[in-house]
């Protein structure tokens, strides 16, 4: 069993930027919503029932193979900084962070597996992979789901499938999300077209940290909307078919920018590099914007001295929770802006 502090010193597998199509596809994620049979949903569960459920599920999970390096974090006991830190790493949702009472998350296998306990449903099983690896993620989560089902019988209905607290998740209980970096589509004002096309074929688009968050840094999550009436593999195929189209479009726009607006583009990329390497105080918002340009430049071979992986990590490690974890104490927003600038200078080899 490892501790949460050990996560801070390293990077989850999904952030390494090594998977297929990694110039555009950051990660592939599959999430299954499950409830334990014969127990009330969390909508009506008392504190006592919630505590029992957490204990029952934790015990059940102990004998499930989640991969090496397991960690369980009780959100009730976790500090605000730790909670924020876990959310920024995509290991817990905003709802679990802001929830109340007994709840937690089991994390394993270099953060590719995260199982939230007592979120909106009793279990929210998540498998994350870097790049476009939906089928691999499915094979892993399918196995884990089977193992859990053998320990904790699920609420399942012959007609409606896996029963969830919200009717939007019923059936497969599966949400597939692919996180994309689409700066060129934004710069060339083509992004609206993509959104319209996606919403027409029933995919939803959200920002880096899900609903209600800004799509800062030009990151967009594409997910399936319907969860009932189609098999898991079909839902995956549908998303897996649409992602390469978006990737192709983004690449096309990147090439176009590089050809037709070369000076403009280079100016933008190198100004971003300059600011990030020398700034003394910088907000999260500005950081995301500039890192986005840096990432684009890196994949267009304009910045051979910066590893793409370093840029990927900076998107997460410059978030407020991560900075405070790194500094080892809570920081005011102003202190964070100073710490953030210093952290980035260190990572990007700013000289001064």
């Amino acid at each position: 069993m490892i501790r949460i502090d050990e996560l801070a010193g390293r990077t989850g597998e999904w952030l390494r930027g090594t998977g297929p199509e990694n110039d555009i596809v950051i990660s592939s994620r599959i999430r299954l919503a499950r409830n334990v049979a014969e127990r009330p949903f969390l909508t009506v569960a008392s504190h006592k029932v919630k505590a029992e459920l957490e204990a029952q599920i934790r015990t059940g999970l102990e004998s499930v193979n989640l991969g090496p390096g397991r960690l369980y974090v009780s959100l009730k006991d976790a500090s605000p900084v730790d909670r924020q830190f876990l959310m920024e790493r995509h290991l817990i949702s905003r709802d679990l962070l802001n929830g109340e009472g007994d709840r937690g998350v089991a994390i394993a296998n270099e953060e590719t597996v995260a199982i939230m306990v007592n979120e909106e449903d009793h279990l929210r099983i998540q498998v994350l992979r870097s790049g476009l690896q939906l089928e691999e993620a499915w094979r892993e989560i399918d196995r884990i789901d089977d193992e859990i089902a053998a320990k904790l019988p699920y609420a399942f209905h012959a007609q409606f499938g896996y029963l969830t607290a919200c009717p939007t998740n019923a059936g497969t209980g599966m949400r597939i999300s692919v996180l994309l970096h689409l700066p060129a589509l934004v710069m060339t004002r083509q992004i609206d077209k993509v959104f319209q096309a996606l919403s027409r074929i029933n995919f939803s688009v959200r920002g880096l940290y899900g609903e209600g968050t800004q799509a800062s840094g030009n990151f967009y999550q594409i997910s399936n909307q319907a969860t009932l009436g189609k098999a898991e593999t079909q839902l995956i195929t549908e998303l897996a078919n649409v992602v390469p189209e978006i990737v192709k479009f983004e690449r096309h726009c990147r090439e176009k920018l590089a050809k037709e607006q070369k000076t403009n583009l280079e100016d933008r990329v190198y100004r971003a590099a300059g600011t990030l390497r020398f700034a003394r105080s910088i907000s999260t918002e500005e950081t995301m914007e500039l890192l986005s340009s840096l990432r684009l430049g890196s994949h267009l071979s304009l910045l051979p001295d910066i590893e793409p992986r370093v840029i990927n990590e900076l998107f997460i490690s410059t978030q407020p929770g991560h900075l405070q974890k790194h500094e080892g104490r809570p920081l005011s927003p102003q202190e964070r802006d100073l710490a953030r600038a210093g952290f980035i200078r260190g990572r990007l080899g700013g000289r001064v």
Partner: protein, 215 residues
């Protein structure tokens, strides 16, 4: 007749294509008009999914208005009423799916375009879909008095989550071209004619899809 198209309230650059009305916690109705990019930046495109449920539940409610008033249904296991479910769009327990079956089937059809699970099943789970399954008996709830039914009150706790979640998006729609139909749609929504509005919305969507393929 041609009134100017609204511009996005955030960037003031692109025409507003996402129009939504939200209810804040203070019950203030906020009207918002944004372009796709700004709506996505503010996470509002994702919100549509949840608002869709609210919209559909409103739609189902309208449908029932004409019919004779049905007594509210209470789940004997978790104690929630159908009206609770309609208010929060969250079930209280697995049995609710059968207790509110009639409504659930209609709702799932609207959300997913399907009412039957296809896909994996836990080992030992029944394979066949019992189409003629009779829903378990549901206890009709006593008429709520001023004091309110004690069990229901105990069962209903404020839903967790962020401010954004507590806001109820009453109506969301996406539109672009086909200006006249859109105006009509706006009128229908103002008049809370959700059923007609939903039909018109689909019609507009189809028209746009056709237009897109021609381009």
């Amino acid at each position: 007749m041609a009134s100017q198209q609204k511009m996005c309230e955030t960037c003031q650059e692109s025409p507003a294509t996402v129009h939504l009305t939200e209810m804040s916690q203070q019950q203030v109705v906020l009207e918002r008009h944004l372009c796709d990019t700004c709506a996505a930046k503010q996470g509002l495109i994702g919100k549509m999914q949840m608002s869709l449920v609210a919209e559909l539940l409103g739609n189902l409610k309208d449908k029932q208005k004409g019919a004779a008033k049905e007594p509210d249904i209470r789940c004997p296991d978790c104690g929630i009423l159908y009206s609770d479910f309609r208010g929060k769009a969250r079930f209280g327990c697995a049995r609710d799916y059968d207790v509110f079956r009639k409504h659930v089937v209609a709702l799932l059809e609207k959300i997913h375009g399907a009412t039957e699970h296809v896909g994996k099943r836990p080992k030992g789970a029944p394979k066949a879909v019992p189409k003629t399954a009779t829903p378990p008996k549901a206890a009709a709830a006593p008429k709520a008095t001023a004091a309110g039914p004690a069990t229901a009150t105990a069962a209903v706790k404020p839903s967790k989550g962020t401010e954004e979640k507590s806001k109820e998006v009453v109506e969301v729609m996406k539109a672009k071209t086909v200006a006249t139909l859109e105006k009509e749609l706006e009128k229908l929504i103002k008049a809370e004619e959700y059923e007609k509005a939903a039909k018109l919305r689909d019609q507009i969507r189809d028209m746009k899809a056709k237009k897109e393929t021609k381009e």
